[in-house]
């Protein structure tokens, strides 16, 4: 199984972040979702390796569950 990259792998992180924010800035939720969905699909096809994408999907979901657990613990 291919290893996913979790070390810094992008030359100009601030530029990239600004571009991703720029993709949806000023848009309502529907239009923002649409653009993000297109970007996800384009990125997925660019990566092409389903094993890698599956790991990334799990990682993205895991972070969310972690956040939820933190939020739950704060509630007490």
């Amino acid at each position: 199984m291919s290893r996913i990259k979790l070390e810094p792998n992008i030359d100009r992180p601030d530029d990239l972040y600004a571009q991703i924010v720029g993709l949806t800035s000023g848009l309502d939720e529907t239009h923002a979702f649409a653009r993000q969905a297109r970007l996800i699909l384009l990125l997925a096809n660019q990566i092409g390796d389903v094993d890698v994408i599956t790991q990334l999907i799990r990682l993205a979901a895991q972070r969310d569950e972690l956040g939820q657990k933190l939020a739950d613990s704060e509630a007490f």
Partner: protein, 522 residues
């Protein structure tokens, strides 16, 4: 539940009189004379078994039911001798086109028969009542078949080695002691509900209007599917040709609608005109509203009671996986039950029906659920993703394979089967154990017509004892399809599934694999 009076009649059969005795014994009772029950009856009868079918209605019903029959079902019916009649009556097609919005060109197009040079086409469209009629006529040639029209199951008592079925017809009632009961009595199976068995799964919150209409005119016999067309904004639609100038139009309507209102002709016909043009000339064949479910029983074999078809599993119709899935059940079950009935196979062989038919049902449910989720996204992010696929597909090839308007029924691979013998050689292409044999030209005919209804060997140059051999060395196409090198062999089950294969077979290996596939060793 529909009232009896609302079920339209296609072919009146007439109520069969009650049997002379109030209690009778029989080897096999089939409940339900739909395509699955009739196919099972034909297969078992051709293998020499006595079969009795009871059917609640005393007619073949019309109305909008299954229309798309896949190559695998046609291959099965070909083996049973009714393939030519069904293909001959049906509309042959193999191309699907998907449209989006008001774009006149399809955003995606698929060919359902990528491997050419096979006898049967990818699909034929034919109304279920024609299929049933053809099967009924074929069964009339067998004096070991007894179809009882207008006989309904009241109750069933299941024992260790058989079941007692309480049957009613008109004023008369009688009991059947059957060694085996095969329940093919549809989605609302009386046998299943009487036995109190589970039927778990998902209900999809969406309504679909089906308008079967009659019109003449020259349109291609292709499957046309629309996402968000101008004539049904925000929803999907489907157009498909059937025999006798009948067309199936299918419109997604959404969840919160008045179903009774929506199927009234004055409300249906604007949809028809919007799709086909305001001046289209057509007649109503049948209008109905459907909701879809994907569910199955936990087990299909309950002692002497075996479930098949919609009684055991339900899918949404996008993908034509309902009736075709049921025909696959029939194909899988009959040779096994025949071996058991003849004492040539153990009762435990039927457990492999449970395993393999469930594998088929799960694959069909998976594809069908995904198609339905693509058509009716559940929330805003899912809708955005679906729309992004359609939008990107209209511009770039990469997104087109993700467009899911229904993944159409293909033969299921029994990847894990207790009947399969694993490869001992690692260098195989071709068809692995558990896959259905692929057709191809052989000796001026076709392989699947010649492979027969018993175990058979496909060989290349060397003959083996003990069963039918088909030497494929005369057909380079088949040798390539099976990756059949000189001296190699495939063992094919009676349902034309690969049981095992060897680069260097010998009599012992072949016999051991045949025994395993007959349930004699595990």
């Amino acid at each position: 539940m529909k009232k009896e009076s609302q079920v339209p009649v296609w072919r009146a059969m007439g109520s069969t009189p009650a049997p002379a005795t109030a209690r009778e014994a029989m080897p096999v009772l089939i409940v339900g004379a739909g395509p699955v029950g009739l196919t099972i009856a034909l297969d078992l009868a051709q293998r020499g078994n006595r079969v009795t079918i009871v059917n609640r209605l005393d007619f073949v019903s019309a109305g909008s039911k299954a229309i798309c029959f896949a190559k695998r079902s046609l291959d099965i019916w070909g083996r049973l001798g009714v393939g030519a009649a069904i293909v001959g009556k049906g509309v042959v097609w193999e191309t699907g086109k998907v449209f989006w919005g008001d774009k006149p060109e399809p955003i995606y197009q698929f060919d359902l028969l990528p491997v050419k040079n096979q006898k049967m086409p990818a699909f034929v469209n034919i109304q279920q009542y024609h299929v049933e009629s053809i099967l009924i006529d074929a069964l009339a040639c067998y004096d070991n078949v007894d179809i009882r029209w207008g006989h309904s199951v009241r109750d069933i008592e299941v024992g260790e080695t058989g079941a007692t079925v309480h049957v009613a017809t008109g004023e008369a009632e009688y009991f059947v002691d059957a060694d085996w009961v095969i329940a093919c009595d549809g989605a609302r199976s009386t046998v299943r509900t009487t036995m109190g068995l589970d039927f778990e799964g998902r209900v999809f919150e969406d309504n679909f209007l089906i308008a079967d209409i009659k019109m003449t005119g020259d349109r291609p016999s292709e499957r046309w599917f629309w996402f968000d067309p101008p004539f049904n904004p925000g929803q999907s639609a489907l157009l498909h040709k059937q025999p006798d100038d009948v067309w199936r139009l299918d419109f997604q309507l959404g969840w919160g609608i008045d179903r009774e209102e929506a199927m009234k002709p004055e409300n249906v016909e604007p949809y028809v005109r919007a799709m086909l043009g305001q001046d289209v000339v057509f007649e109503r064949e049948w209008y109905s509203i459907y909701t879809f479910q994907c569910r199955r029983m936990t087990r299909f074999v309950h002692g002497p009671v075996i479930f098949a078809g919609d009684a055991a599993h339900l899918v949404s119709p996008f993908g034509a996986r309902g009736c075709n899935g049921g025909i696959a059940d029939a194909d899988n079950l009959c040779w096994k039950l025949d071996l058991v009935l003849r004492g040539a196979g153990p009762t435990t062989l039927l457990e492999s029906y449970n395993v393999e038919a469930i594998a088929t049902a799960d694959e069909n449910i998976l594809h069908s659920s995904r198609s339905t989720d693509f058509m009716s996204p559940k929330d805003a992010p899912a809708t955005a993703l679906r729309d992004a696929v359609l939008e990107l597909a209209s511009r770039y090839p990469f997104a087109r394979p993700m467009v899911n308007s229904g993944r159409l029924s293909t033969a299921v691979n029994y990847a894990v089967s207790p009947l399969s013998t694993a490869d001992e050689d690692g260098d195989w292409a071709g068809l692995s154990p558990g896959m259905p044999a692929l057709d191809g030209p052989l000796d001026g005919g076709w392989l699947l017509d010649q492979v027969g209804t018993e175990f058979a060997l496909l060989t290349n140059g060397i003959e083996y004892q003990g069963m039918k051999n088909l030497d494929l060395s005369v057909s380079p196409i088949l040798c390539e399809r099976f990756d059949l090198s000189p001296g190699a062999a495939y063992l094919i089950r009676p349902d034309q599934i690969v049981a095992g294969r060897w680069r260097h077979p010998d009599q012992n290996k072949i016999e051991a694999a045949r025994q395993r596939a007959s349930g004699l060793v595990s």
